[in-house]
Structure formats: C-alpha cells, structure tokens
C-alpha cells in the first residue's frame, strides 16, 4: 500500500501519493500513444487541469471565463499533456501541468489574446464580406502545385506536406495561413466552416501538421530550409 500523504508543494494543487502513482501510469500510457488514457486523465484529474488553466487565466487578468470556453481550454490542456507525456519524468515529483507550466500558460494566453486584441474593423469587413470571384480562384493546393513547378522552396514545402499529412489537412493548413495573412481575426473558424469542422479541430490539425513539418526539418537535412519559412513559425 502506498502512502497517502501529499507530495511536496510544486505549485498548483497537490495530489496524494497513490494518485500520483496513478498519474505516472496514465502519462506512460499517453506517451505510448494510448488516446484513451487522455480521457482517463481528464476524468480523474480534470479538477487539477481545470484549476491550472484557471490559475493561468487569473495571472493574465481573466477572473471570469465562460463555462464553454473553459471546457475547450481544459481539453486543449489535456492535448498538451498528451503531446508532452513522453518527455515528462516523475522523478522530480512535479505534476505534469506544473512541469509544463509554460505550455499551460500558452493555452491560457491564446484564449486571452483571442479576446483581448483590438478589433481591426477593416480586417473584420474582409472576413465577413463575400470574396469576389471566390468560386473561380484556384484552391491552395492547386496554387502550391503551380508554384512548386517554378520555385524550388515551394516544391520542397509541397513534398514535405505530402510526407506528413493528408491532402485535406494540407489544404486546411494552407487555407488557415492565407486567412491569417488576410487579417482574418478568426481564421480557424472561417476555414472550419469551409471544411465542415469546428474551429478547435482546425487549430489542432494546423498545430499537428506544423509540428510534423518542424520535426521533418530537424530530422532530414534536405528539409532544413523549411525551418526558416514563416509558415513554420506561425
């Protein structure tokens, strides 16, 4: 029987020793790619994850957040913990959401930034106004293919995208980037409507695809030039 004393304070809410050992198991399973363990984490440690998100929001000056927004942020936080599970080490006794504080804060910051930026009215008008001739514009993949035939860096990006994800996800990532460059205040929502996806699913596709591109650029020297693309810094 393991003890039930609280762990030494590492910031955030403490968990008892037996719960910590349960957490170690869940983090290991997540690091092995078990997505169900992320649901278990949310189910068994949801209060701590939500508490961490709320604490970061409070630090950023947000004392009240709508329940719906908080739910989305807490799920974002669980996704972050899933992605980082392989690099967390239990030896130091730090809870994952404390250890990953900067990433948890980034989750909160994105929410704050989304609601705190001054509205660019001209950009908002562009976002809601019908795009003239939109039906005749080449889609992003066709455009990239055209450019790839002429520009080596575009050909490299096209090849890399093909290596890391599906054509649909490639189109989503490129479409989001186009919307960002156009000044769309909610690019994921705009692209989500086009592809029949929720905005958070679009953001997730973009994040994962860019992460895979970064990994490719790191792992294979041939793709090193991609690391300098603004797309990967987005």
């Amino acid at each position: 029987m393991v003890g039930t004393g609280s762990l030494p304070s590492t910031g955030g809410q403490p968990v008892e020793q037996d719960r910590f050992e349960r957490l170690v198991v869940l983090m290991r399973r997540m690091s092995e790619g078990d997505r169900a363990a992320m649901f278990t984490l949310a189910d068994e440690f949801g209060a701590q994850v939500v508490g961490s998100v709320r604490a970061h929001l409070r630090d950023l000056g947000v004392d009240h957040v709508e329940r719906d927004d908080l739910d989305g942020l807490a799920i974002d936080a669980c996704e972050v913990l899933y992605d980082l599970a392989g690099t967390w080490r239990p030896d130091g006794g730090a809870l994952p959401w404390v250890w990953a504080a900067h990433r948890m804060r980034a989750v909160a910051s994105r929410h704050v930034g989304q609601h705190a930026d001054v509205l660019d009215e001209r950009a908002a008008e562009r976002a809601v106004a019908p795009v003239a001739g939109a039906g005749t514009e080449p889609d992003e993949l066709a455009l990239l293919a055209t450019l790839a035939a002429r520009l080596p860096e575009c050909a490299l990006l096209q090849e890399a995208l093909t290596r890391v994800t599906t054509p649909r996800n490639q189109a989503i990532v490129l479409a989001v980037r186009v919307q960002e460059l156009l000044g769309d205040p909610a690019p994921a929502a705009t692209v989500g409507r086009e592809f029949g996806l929720r905005a958070d699913a679009v953001r997730q596709i973009k994040r994962r695809t860019l992460q895979r591109l970064r990994t490719l650029a790191t792992d294979e020297p041939r793709f090193l030039a991609l690391a300098d693309l603004p797309l990967l810094a987005a």
């Binding site: 039930t4 399973r29 078990d34 997505r35 169900a36 363990a37 992320m38 649901f39 278990t40 949310a42 189910d43 068994e44 949801g46 209060a47 994850v49 939500v50 508490g51 739910d71 989305g72 807490a74 799920i75 669980c78 599906t166 649909r168 996800n169 989503i172 996806l197 929720r198 958070d200 699913a201 997730q204 596709i205």
Partner: protein
C-alpha cells in the same frame, strides 16, 4: 449484519465527487469525444465516430486495451481495430465485427 462499513477514505472520495465545486471543475468528456472524432476524421480514420466512442468509453473505465478487452470479452485485436482503424487489407467495418 453483513454490510461492511465504508472506509473513511471512500466516504471522503464520495463526498468530494458530490461537491458542487468539483462538478464545476470537471472536464466535459463528451466534448472531448466529439473533438477526438473530428481529429480522427481529419486524419482519415475509417470510422472516427465509433473509434472516438470506444476511446472515451475505455477512458472512462481507466483500463488499458488488454484489460478492457478482457473486461468486455472480446479479443484485444478487435479493440485495436476499432480504435486505430483498418490496415489497407481490412475490409470489415466495426458494424460487421
């Protein structure tokens, strides 16, 4: 009398679960399931809704694949097939399993 008195730790856990503050801090697992289905669909999973349902259900039990398969009485490979989707040679959908 045969009933066993609940341990104080069990009582504390039950009290915690009932506490309104804890309920407010819970994560919406159904929303997480829908998001997982979207993710799987975006990745081209053959049956994303069913896979997400199974992942969420297994997640709620807290069991790994092997233990979950044993608990529900199916081969572990069946759980893997539904969650991961078919390899190209698999023709059967989850409804046919």
């Amino acid at each position: 009398m045969t009933a066993t008195r609940p341990r104080r730790t069990d009582e504390r856990e039950a009290a915690r679960a009932r506490h309104p503050a804890v309920r407010r801090m819970a994560i919406d697992l159904d929303r997480m399931r829908r998001r997982e289905a979207d993710r799987l669909a975006a990745e081209g999973h053959a049956w994303p809704e069913q896979a997400a349902l199974l992942l969420a259900a297994r997640g709620r039990t807290g069991l790994d694949r092997r233990a979950f398969a044993a608990a529900v009485g199916v081969p572990e490979a069946t759980i893997a097939l539904i969650e991961d989707g078919p390899v190209p040679s698999d023709a059967a959908g989850p409804a046919q399993l």
